[in-house]
């Protein structure tokens, strides 16, 4: 058995096996469960790197479930050649997302060791954690719309339970139920879209449907597109469907908040990109109209997230609003890329969107982990009860300042680079757009400067006497993410040239995605 041949499926089924076996391993105590979840999330990370290398080296990876050979995607039926089985289709975009997800997932797992030490039911927590990881990886790697829905459900249901995991607080249960109700509604819309596409075209494979849409677009697909967009905009937490995010992300345990804000909402953005550029293709749709709709939504999202975040007293709630604002930037990049597809502006928009997606996953993942450190060490999330933390916990505070400045787009950190690319791209479409984006970035800066000034600088209140930096297993993931922020800020060409540009090429090149499956 050659591992590289099966690497695409291994990325999904490794955390899945970890989830199934955690109940047995946890019989041997919490320590065993800790190590088990560390091993499996680490293995997933390693497999994601190997998968990424394979995609970069040999192009799109096809893995057909149940076929005699992974690459045999189609069957020959009386001279008709079409795919019948489920297949995973991994291009550079999927590989990029898988890498980001498993990176944040691995760090969040290590972080959870000490963070969850005071909670009961840790084995359930780890099971759901690995299932959340499985769901996200399944979504980004699959080449089949129904399979995408199935993994979306795995991701969503485990996320509902994890948000409400600290059930002794009213806030968590309320947020969990809210997330459950609106999330299920969104899932239903997505299932309806899948049903319509299957009803019209009789296939579930993305490549096959994309080909059929190109050949004979039916009016029904626009209904499916509307349902798809509504569902995934909710899953991505973009205004006007962001209300669940503001409650759910702060209420979850912090390692889960890092995953939710860092990568779960990114799978929504991934699905939107995949649907626009691969499933439907830019040729059949009215690019300018849909692109401008996305841009308007994006602008509103940036402003709502930025301005409401300014007045929050709760640190994690502030970070959640900031996530909404940053999703606006990613949506802005997607909208610009749709309006000006295959021009300099469009390419810059895509580069900006994907680079900001990567950066935001790292930055927001780290910031939520730090919020968790503060909650763990101080026992409060209220900014006004903090003060002078930089003297008490210098490493954590330095990392928070780096992350806060990076997300606000201050040089020399990575957020600055990706936002700069987005400003340039939107200025080529309309200078007013760039101005709006810069103004809302100033809102984000104000938001984070306030936190830094109140919580980290200044004088420490009397109540915070014996505060220290957290244990190493919580600190190391944070420090590594902070180092990544600085490296990506100083040497942006390193990630852009090696992983972002191939992903952009993959998004733009619908024909190669199709020809990898169809003869």
């Amino acid at each position: 058995m050659n591992i590289m041949e099966h690497i695409a499926i291994l990325v999904v089924i490794t955390p899945l096996f970890g989830a199934f076996s955690t109940p047995f391993v946890s019989l041997a105590g919490k320590k065993a469960a800790d190590i088990w979840v560390g091993i499996f999330s680490g293995l997933t990370f390693v497999f994601s790197i190997l998968l990424g290398l394979k995609v970069l080296r040999s192009g799109i990876v096809i893995y057909t479930l149940g076929a005699p050979e992974p690459a045999i995607a189609t069957v020959d039926y009386n001279g008709l050649i079409f795919p019948v089985r489920i297949l995973l289709e991994v291009d550079a975009l999927s590989a990029l997302l898988a890498l980001v997800i498993s990176l944040i997932g691995f760090f969040a797992a290590i972080y959870s060791w000490r963070y969850m030490e005071h909670d009961t039911g840790v084995e359930k927590f780890y099971t759901l954690f690995l299932l959340l990881l499985t769901g996200m990886l399944g979504i980004v790697l699959t080449g089949d719309i129904f399979n995408m829905y199935v993994f979306l459900e795995i991701m969503s249901i485990s996320a509902y339970a994890l948000v409400a995991f600290r059930k002794e607080t009213f806030e968590a249960v309320e947020a969990g139920i809210k997330y459950l109700v609106v999330g299920s509604a969104a899932s239903t819309l997505i299932l309806l879209a899948v049903a319509i596409l299957y009803g019209v075209y009789g296939s579930l494979t993305i490549a096959q449907i994309a080909h059929l849409i190109e050949v004979s677009p039916s009016p029904l697909i626009w209904g499916a597109l509307a349902l798809y967009l509504t569902g995934f905009i909710l899953k991505a937490g973009i205004v006007p469907l962001h209300m669940w995010l503001i409650d759910a992300h702060p209420a979850a345990p912090s390692s889960i908040s890092a995953l939710l804000s860092g990568v779960v909402i990114k799978t929504g953005a991934y699905a939107i990109i995949r649907i626009f550029f691969t499933l439907y293709g830019v040729e059949v749709m009215n690019r300018a109209l849909i692109g401008w709709i996305i841009v308007v939504i994006a602008v509103i999202t940036m402003f709502v997230g930025g301005s409401l975040g300014l007045i929050q007293q709760d640190l994690k709630r502030l970070l959640a609003y900031s996530s909404v604002a940053q999703m606006g930037y990613i949506a802005l990049g997607i909208g610009v890329a749709l309006i000006a597809f295959n021009t300099t502006a469009g390419d810059a928009g895509l580069v900006g969107a994907l680079f900001h997606l990567l950066n935001h996953a790292i930055m927001k993942g780290m910031l939520f982990l730090i919020a968790g450190v503060i909650l763990h060490q101080l026992g409060t999330r209220n900014i006004n009860e903090m003060g002078g933390l930089i003297k008490k916990m210098p490493i954590t505070s330095a990392c928070f300042i780096i992350g806060g400045l990076a997300i606000a787009g201050v040089p020399p950190f990575n957020g600055f680079v990706s936002k700069l690319i987005l400003y340039e791209a939107s200025a080529m479409i309309s200078p007013a757009l760039a101005v709006i984006a810069i103004i809302s970035s100033a809102l984000t800066l104000g938001m984070y400067l306030r936190v830094i000034q109140t919580a980290f600088l200044g004088r420490a209140p009397e109540t915070l006497k014996d505060i220290r930096d957290p244990p190493a297993s919580m600190l190391i993931p944070i420090v590594i993410l902070a180092i990544l922020i600085v490296i990506f800020g100083i040497l942006p060409s390193l990630p852009v040239d090696s992983i972002i540009t191939p992903a952009v090429e993959a998004v733009k090149n619908q024909a190669s995605y199709l020809s990898a499956v169809l003869p």
């Binding site: 899945l16 989830a19 199934f20 479930l65 149940g66 069957v75 039926y77 001279g79 008709l80 050649i81 079409f82 019948v84 089985r85 489920i86 009961t120 039911g121 359930k124 927590f125 099971t127 759901l128 299932l131 499985t134 399944g138 129904f146 399979n147 199935v150 993994f151 459900e153 795995i154 249901i157 485990s158 509902y160 339970a161 409400a164 995991f165 059930k167 002794e168 309806l192 319509i196 009803g199 019209v200 075209y201 009789g202 296939s203 096959q208 080909h211 059929l212 050949v215 004979s216 039916s218 009016p219 029904l220 209904g223 003869p519």
Partner: protein, 110 residues
Amino acid sequence: MIKRRAIGLSAILLIFGLLFAGVFLLHPYGEPDYTLAIKQGDSFYQRTATDDYFIERGKMAEESGSTNIVAAILFDYRGYDTLGEATVLFTAVAGATAMFRRERKGDEDE
């Protein structure tokens, strides 16, 4: 409050109307539409080939060998989806047991 309900109701009616109108754009039930294959000329694809393939080949020994074609589709052609669905149930059970767990160790009875 009434205004909000009216907006919600009209939105539901609108979506229902659009979906209902969409039904007439599909091919009639049980009567496959082969026009797509003709329209394509030299292209290979046609709409209903997947269903025919399952019905004809599903029970053959070289494919799955199961006379219950539903089982053949569930566990052979789309086995990965079934694993996913079983995982959805597993997730739901894990989530429910996590919600009903005891809060502190050594809580009273059971």
